[in-house]
Symmetry: C2
Subunit: 534 residues, 2 copies
C-alpha cells in the first residue's frame, strides 16, 4: 500500500493574517521532570507477546556497572513525551576509548523485541526511535536533542573497552504538553474500566497536545484535520483549551491549495506549510470542526472569519466531485478520501455520506450567522445527495449500503450513512443492528473509525450497545496493556499495520482518545446512566 | 591478544605545580576550512584491494537528489583532522518524516568496504568512525560534534520518505592542528619519493599535534611516551614547537604511579590523568626525551626540574627489574615492555638494551648539570649491563642476540642491542648485515620499530642501506596510497592488525612520522648525500 499524495510544483494560497493569528496562539509548553520507577526485562512468551517483568528497583542502579553487550531497560511507569537526559560515568581504569551506546525508546514493550534492521515497511524507518551515540569525554552529561514518545527506554552498551565500564545516573525525562492533567476532574464511575478508559483517553489527548494537536507523538507529529475534529471534541469535554483549536483552524485556513481546497494535513516546522495531500472527507470536516468550536467557545469573530472557507470546501465537492447523478465519483485506489485504514475499503459511498453529514453543520453555522440563502441551498443539496445515495448505494435485497463498482459492503459505509442521517433514526437502528449481525468482512481497523461507529450507535439510541462495544474495543486495548490509546487496533488481528510493519505504528494517537468525549458527553449527563456515575 | 594493563585501586603521585605548568602551555589550535574536491566510488578489485574512482565533480552536487539507500562519498583530497559540517535540504513535497543518515569517515578507502557489524577485534568498536543521525527539522545545518580523522566522508541516506529527497550543500571540515605547514621549508630532493616521504611525514606529525602529541588521531588520541620521543625528534627538525614537548614532559612528570614510575600513557581529557599502564621501555624513554628537549631548546630550567624523575626511572629499573646477574627479568606475555607489536616477540633482551640505551642520555644530562656522581654511577651500571647482555643473550654460534627462555631471535633484539651500543660500530655493522641476511622470522611490524632499525643502520654507517630500506618501507606505504603514515605496515602482510581487525587500525599515527627526521637530520646535512639535495 502506498497511500500518499505527492504533487509536483505544488501551489498554495496564503492568508498571512490568518497564519499570524495562528502564530500568536502558539502555546507555552508545560514541563515536568519524570524519572523511571524501575528497571525491567522484556521477553517474548509462547504466544509471541512481549512480557514485562521487573528486573531491579531503581535503588540498584548506582551499584550497576555496564560493559560491552550489557543493557538495561528503564520503565517510566506511563507513556511520556519529552526530552531525555542521563549521566554516564566511567568506572575502573581511566576510559581509554569512547563509550558507544544504543538507545531505544518504546511506547509498548513489543517495540523492544523488534529489530530495526528488519524493518521493511513503506513509511520511513526514520520514525523508529533508536539512536547510537559515542561519548568521547566521560563522565558525560547527555541531553538527547530529539523528543521521544515512550514508556520504556533501553540503554545498551555497544562497547566501552576492557579497561572500564559505565555507571548510569540521573536518568530523566522532561515531559512536555500544552495542558495539565490536574485541570480535569476524573470521571468517577462505578465501573472502573470506564474510569480507566477515561484516564487513558485523557493521557492520550494530553500527550498529543503540543504546539498543535498532533496526531501521533511518536510518528507523524503533525496536524491532520480529521484527527483535529475528534481531538477538539474530546478537549471541549476535558481540558477546554479553546486557543489550541482556534490556532489549528487558522492554520488550515491560512494556507490552502491554490484552488482553495483545505489540505488534509499541516506542517508547523520549521515554518507553516500545508501538505500537498487533499482528502475529501478531511477537507469537509473543516465545517463541523468550526461549527463545534463556535458552539463551544461562542467565539463569533472566528466563526465569521472562517465560515466562508468552510462553505467553500462543500461547494468545491459539490462542483467537482460529483457525477451527473449527484453521486461522488469513485477515485478507487488513489489516496483521495480517508474514512479508515484497512485493506481494500471502497470509499465512494462513505465520501457521499461525509458530504451529506458535513452539510448539517454548514446549515447550523449558516443559521447562526442568519445566512438564509446558504441554509436553503444546503438543505436542497442535502436532499438531492441523500436521494442519490439511496438510489445509487442502497441494496434493498441485502438491506445494506454498497459502495463502488464492485458493490462492496463495508462497516464504514453503513456507519457513515447513518451519521449522514440518510434514513430516520429507526431505520438507521435497523441498519446498524443488521450490520452487526452480518458483520461484513470489510471491517473497521482504526479507533478513528470505531469512534464513528460508537457515534452511530448512540445516534440510533443504542447507547447501552455502544457502551458494550466501547468496552470491548478500547477496554480490551487497556487489557492488552495500553497506557495511551493506539493508532490502530484490530481485535481480529492485533499485529495489523497499514504500513507494512508494526514497528512504525503509533501507540499514542490522538484520534483514539474519544472515549472520554463519549463517556462525558453522552453518558455522564444522561439520566439513563445515572447509576453508573453514583 | 589482550595487551593491556588494568590496576584495581590505582594510586597516583601528583605534582600539581608540574600539571599547572603543562596546563598553561595548552596550545590554541589553528583552524582551516577544507572542502571536498570530488565525489568518488570505492570498489574492491580482484585482489581485494579498495580502488577509488572519481564518481562526479563537486559541481554536480547541487543537482543531486539523494533518497532512501543512496550514498555519496566525498573525497577531501588529503588526510584531515577536524569537525565536519554540512547542510541537508529537503526537495520535493514538504518533508513528512525525519531524515535518517549514516555517516562514515575513513582515513583509507578500504575502511569504506568494511562493515562495522562484522567487527570482532579486542579494541573497542567505539573507535569506528560511523554515526547515524536523525534530522527532525529540515533544512538542517548539521555540525557534527565529534572530531574525525579522515580523507573520505560517506553520507548514506538510510531513509527520507517517499515524499522528499535530500540535497546536500556546504560540506566542509574545520581542520585543526597546533602547528601550520607553511612554517616548514619543503625538503627539495632530486629524488621525488624522498620529497613525498618528507611531506607525508610532516602531514602525519602536524595532524597528530593537537592539544598534546597524540599518537593516533583516529584511535587512541592520547599521549604515549614512546611516541612522544619520536614525535619530538621530528618536531625539532620541522615545526620546532618546543612548548608542546615541554607540556607533554611536564604532564608525564606531573602525575605518576605512586611509587614514582612514569606511566606509558597519559590522558588529558576531561582532566589530566596518568594511565595505569607501565611499560619499562616507555618509562625509560623519559630520559632521552628530556635530554633531546634540553639539547634542542637549551631550556635549562626544565632540565633541572625534570632530571630527577628521568634518573628515577632508570634507578627503578636497576633496583626492581633485574635479577642477580643484572639481567632484566622476563615477564613473558604480560604487557610490561612494548618494543613492537607482532605476534610472539620476546621482550627480555630488548628491554635490557633499552635500559642501556637510556643510560647514555642520562649521562649526557648529568654532564650538562655537572652531576659527576651520577655520570660515574651510570657509566658503571652501563658497563655491568652491557657485559650481562653479552653474557646472557649473545649466541656466538649464531652470531646474534637471543631473548627469553626459548632463546628467540628477532629483528627487534638485534636493533636495540645495536642502539644500546653493546658492540662497537664495526661489530654492530656486522650484526645488522648478518641479521638482514638471516632475516629472522620474528619481524618488525610497526613503523615505530622500523624507525629504530633505520637508526641502527645509520649508527653502523650504513646510511645508503638505511635510505634504501626507508624507501622500501615508507615509500611503499606511499605507493599503497598513504596520505599520512600508518600505525602498522608489514610489507609481508598488508592487512595485519594487532587488534584482531584492521577496522580499528590507525592510518595517521605519529610514531610513523620519522622519515622527515631521518632525512633532514642524517641526509640533508650530510656531505655524502649532497647530490640528493642539489
Amino acid at each position: 500500500m502506498t497511500a500518499f499524495s505527492k504533487i509536483e510544483n505544488f501551489q498554495v494560497r496564503t492568508n498571512q493574517a490568518f497564519l499570524d493569528k495562528a502564530a500568536a496562539l502558539e502555546p507555552v509548553l508545560n514541563k515536568r521532570v519524570i524519572r523511571p520507577g524501575r528497571m525491567v526485562r522484556v521477553e517474548e512468551n509462547f504466544y509471541h507477546e512481549a512480557v514485562v517483568e521487573e528486573d531491579a528497583p531503581m535503588s540498584e542502579l548506582p551499584g550497576m556497572r555496564l560493559g560491552k553487550g550489557d543493557k538495561v531497560i528503564f520503565d517510566f511507569g506511563d507513556h511520556q513525551v519529552g526530552y531525555v537526559s542521563f549521566v554516564a560515568v566511567p568506572m575502573g581504569s581511566h576510559y581509554d576509548a569512547p563509550a558507544y551506546l544504543r538507545l531505544k525508546f518504546a511506547e509498548v514493550p513489543s517495540e523492544l523485541l523488534e529489530d530495526a534492521k528488519d524493518y521493511d515497511g513503506w513509511l520511513s524507518k526514520s520514525w523508529i526511535q533508536e539512536e547510537t551515540l559515542h561519548l568521547d569525554i566521560l563522565p558525560a552529561s547527555v541531553n538527547m536533542p530529539r523528543r521521544y514518545a515512550f514508556r520504556y527506554m533501553q540503554v545498551e552498551v555497544l562497547d566501552t573497552s576492557p579497561k572500564y565500564t559505565l555507571q548510569f545516573r540521573n536518568i530523566c525525562c522532561d515531559y512536555v504538553s500544552a495542558v495539565e492533567m490536574n485541570t480535569v476532574e476524573p470521571l468517577h464511575s462505578r465501573d472502573d474500566l470506564l474510569n480507566r478508559m477515561d484516564r487513558v483517553s485523557l493521557k492520550t489527548l494530553m500527550d498529543c497536545m503540543q504546539s498543535v494537536f498532533e496526531d501521533g507523538v511518536k510518528r507523524d507529529r503533525r496536524l491532520w484535520l480529521g484527527d483535529l475534529r475528534l481531538q477538539a471534541r474530546a478537549n471541549y469535554e476535558t481540558f477546554r483549551d479553546f486557543n489550541m483549536v482556534k490556532r489549528c483552524l487558522y492554520l488550515f485556513a491560512g494556507m490552502t491549495f491554490a484552488d482553495g481546497r483545505i489540505g488534509a494535513c499541516f506542517f508547523h516546522e520549521p515554518d507553516f506549510r500545508v501538505d500537498d495531500t487533499y482528502l475529501m472527507d478531511y477537507a469537509l470536516f473543516f465545517a463541523p470542526a468550526l461549527c463545534d468550536y463556535y458552539e463551544q467557545s461562542k467565539d463569533r469573530e472566528t466563526l465569521e472569519e472562517l465560515y466562508p472557507q468552510a462553505m467553500e470546501q462543500i461547494d468545491i465537492c459539490w462542483d467537482t466531485m460529483l457525477d451527473e447523478r449527484h453521486v461522488v465519483v469513485d477515485k478507487g485506489e488513489e489516496f483521495w478520501c480517508f474514512l479508515d485504514w484497512g485493506e481494500g475499503l471502497n470509499k465512494q459511498a462513505g465520501a457521499q455520506a461525509v458530504l451529506i453529514y458535513t452539510m448539517r453543520y454548514a446549515i447550523r453555522m449558516a443559521q447562526s450567522l442568519c445566512d438564509q440563502k446558504r441554509v436553503r441551498q444546503m438543505e436542497e443539496r442535502m436532499q438531492i445527495l441523500k436521494a442519490a445515495a439511496i438510489e445509487q448505494f442502497w441494496d434493498e435485497k441485502q438491506k445494506m449500503f454498497v459502495s463502488g463498482e464492485m458493490r462492496q459492503i463495508s462497516w464504514a459505509t453503513q456507519v457513515w450513512m447513518i451519521l449522514a442521517r440518510v434514513f430516520d433514526k429507526e431505520k438507521s437502528r435497523e441498519l446498524i443492528l443488521h450490520t452487526m449481525q452480518v458483520n461484513p468482512r470489510i471491517r473497521m481497523v482504526t479507533p478513528y473509525m470505531y469512534h464513528h461507529y460508537m457515534d452511530a450507535l448512540i445516534r440510533c439510541g443504542e447507547e447501552e450497545l455502544a457502551l458494550e462495544e466501547m468496552k470491548r474495543y478500547w477496554g480490551e486495548m487497556i487489557l492488552d496493556g495500553a497506557d495511551t490509546f493506539w493508532e490502530l487496533y484490530n481485535p481480529y488481528n492485533k499485529h495489523e499495520s497499514p504500513y507494512g510493519s508494526s514497528m512504525v505504528n503509533s501507540y499514542c494517537h490522538a484520534w483514539s482518545c474519544t472515549p472520554t468525549y463519549l463517556l462525558r458527553k453522552f453518558y455522564k449527563k444522561n439520566e439513563k446512566f445515572r447509576e453508573l456515575f453514583e
